[in-house]
């Protein structure tokens, strides 16, 4: 465990970047430091690998003051990922990743074999191994940065806004990849970001810092969203934290209606009977994949005209997606009903906004959200 104990950092010019910060960073989990620009996130992170020395206080790693071991030994035991990846442009991708193993005295061959392994782990095609950084996209470079940090299998990973410089789609991919890697490797990760959504998505624990380097709140993301400690945190979380909090409730409890789901080749009586539970029927193809909504009368009148069906919005996967995704699906659907599908995309039922609303109330009444549903 990393323990930040009453740490203050005063730069030579008098700026107090971090002020009396205490934090217990749990093992094998992602702890996110979040806050507005200039609030001392980077300074805090860099004090953990002694790129910055605290003016007061101490930092303990597994109970031992980090100043007790040689600084480069400490740093080699902590992966370090920075915003623009910071790759070595004169080295190939493979040799970039092999840097720390080489520093640790591994043979070139062994270090490169390990680097190739890591390329696969972070989702990089090994055909890129002999390329140079300038030949890679920003997102790929960032993956190399992560692979390089993981190369010597350090127990701790320090990440300073690693995904801030890439576009939103690529960023989402990188975030999902990090969560996947973390599921496999279980590192102790300290992750800095100014993006509260990223913090909520990635963090097991989230530390919100306020300007002047003081801790505003330290809590799991769901708790942060439900009980922000003060107006600053509430303001920082943004307007729709109620909706975002739904990310933490699983959609497993939703009661799905199957009657309004009809296959395109169903007989007319089936079409007529389905209309009792819902105002519209969800028509699927013969595989069970949803095609769109149709009014029961129109459908019963005979020909199902594929082109005249209403779009069904974005479906959700019960158990995998959260209540937020389900509600989003219902809001997007012209009929007000969300479509539930299985992993293969076959419709397994439909659910109305009203029913989702009831599930939300029930979940709130029960209290603790399920942190896992966030993903």
């Amino acid at each position: 465990m990393i323990r930040i104990d009453a740490v203050t950092k005063r730069y030579p010019d008098g700026t107090v970047a971090v002020d009396g910060l205490s934090l217990e960073i749990p093992d094998r989990a992602i702890t996110v430091l979040v806050g507005p620009s200039g609030c001392g996130k980077t300074t805090t992170l860099r004090m953990i690998n002694r790129m910055v020395e605290p003016s007061e206080g101490s930092i303990l790693l597994d109970g031992q003051d980090i100043r007790q071991q040689p600084v480069n030994t400490l740093r080699r035991s902590m992966g370090y990922v920075i915003q623009n990846a910071g790759l070595f442009q004169h080295r190939t991708i493979l040799d970039n990743i092999a840097t720390v193993p080489r520093l640790l005295g591994w043979s070139k061959q062994k270090a490169r074999a390990r680097a190739a392994e890591l390329m696969e782990r972070v989702g990089l095609d090994t055909s890129l191994a002999k390329r140079y950084p300038y030949q890679l996209s920003g997102g790929q470079q960032q993956r190399v940065g992560v692979a390089r940090a993981l190369a010597a299998d350090p127990p701790v990973l320090l990440m300073d806004e690693p995904f801030s410089a890439v576009d939103p789609v690529v960023r989402k991919g990188l975030q999902d990849e990090l969560l996947r890697i973390q599921d496999e490797l279980g590192k102790t990760i300290v992750f800095v970001t100014h993006d509260i959504d990223e913090a909520v998505k990635l963090g097991t624990m989230v530390a919100v810092l306020r300007t002047g380097g003081r801790l505003a709140q330290f809590a799991p993301p769901a708790e942060l969203l439900s009980v922000p400690a003060d107006p600053f945190v509430e303001d920082f979380l943004g307007a729709d934290r109620g909706i975002r909090r739904l990310s933490f409730f699983p959609s497993t409890e939703l009661e799905l209606h199957t009657a309004p789901v009809v296959a395109i080749d169903a007989g007319t009586e089936k079409l007529a009977s389905g209309g009792e539970a819902a105002p519209c029927l969800l028509v699927t193809d013969t595989d069970g994949k949803p095609l769109g909504w149709g009014a029961p009368d129109d459908l019963a009148a005979g020909a199902i005209d594929r082109d005249r069906l209403l779009p069904f919005g974005r479906p959700f996967v019960p158990g995998k997606d959260s209540l937020r995704t389900a509600l989003d699906g219902a809001v997007l659907s012209p009929t007000g009903w969300a479509v539930a599908v299985d992993e293969e995309g076959r419709a397994v039922g439909v659910v109305s906004q009203q029913m989702i609303g009831e599930a939300i109330r029930a979940a709130h009444a029960e209290g603790r959200p399920d942190a896992k549903a966030a993903r």
Binding site: M51, N72, I82, Q83, Q89, Y132, R148
Partner: protein, 222 residues
Amino acid sequence: MNVLNFVHAFLSDSSHWHGYDGIPTRVGEHLHYTLQALAIAAAIALPVGLVTGHTVRGGNVLALVATAGRALPSFGLLVLLFIWIGFGLLPVMIPLVALAVPPILVTTFEAIRSVDPSPVDAARGMGMSETRVLFQVEIPVALPLILSGLLTAAIQIVSTATIAAYVSLGGLGRYIIDGLYQKNYEKVVGGATLVAGMALATLAVFWLVSRLTVSPGVRRSS
């Protein structure tokens, strides 16, 4: 009167190709002065430039030294040193080294100082020692610029080493000085052409060295 005719006449005269005043001997002497001056200048300027660039300290002092060095008149210095020290290679080497130090020093300092700070930060954060940071991160990236400083210095030495002839030493300057004295313009033009040829050869050598030592990742991305 055609310069090309002079050049042709000078180079095709077989008597110019052997003996103590032959082209191979004079080119060899010129090369010797050049390499020696460049080596001494590099041995002084490279370490200072690398260390000051790495620590980003002493930039102002450096700029001052460089300006002062540039303002030194090589020929004047040579005459002064010749009177003071007397005959020998030393009065020639000092002005040549003084000429070559500023471009090497300033370019090396700038080259290291302007290396993108984020890989350097990453390298330190991964636990590289300062020496490793300099040699494994900063120098490989700064190399094209460092080489360009050395090239500038080398070319200046090649063209200025002709002054050695004024103090009775050899080198290609011999042809120019003797030719002027003897009013043998064929010799003057021939000597000047050989100096220009050596400058071009220097260019070619540096191009080759940079092909061999600069990583393709650096060549393309900058």
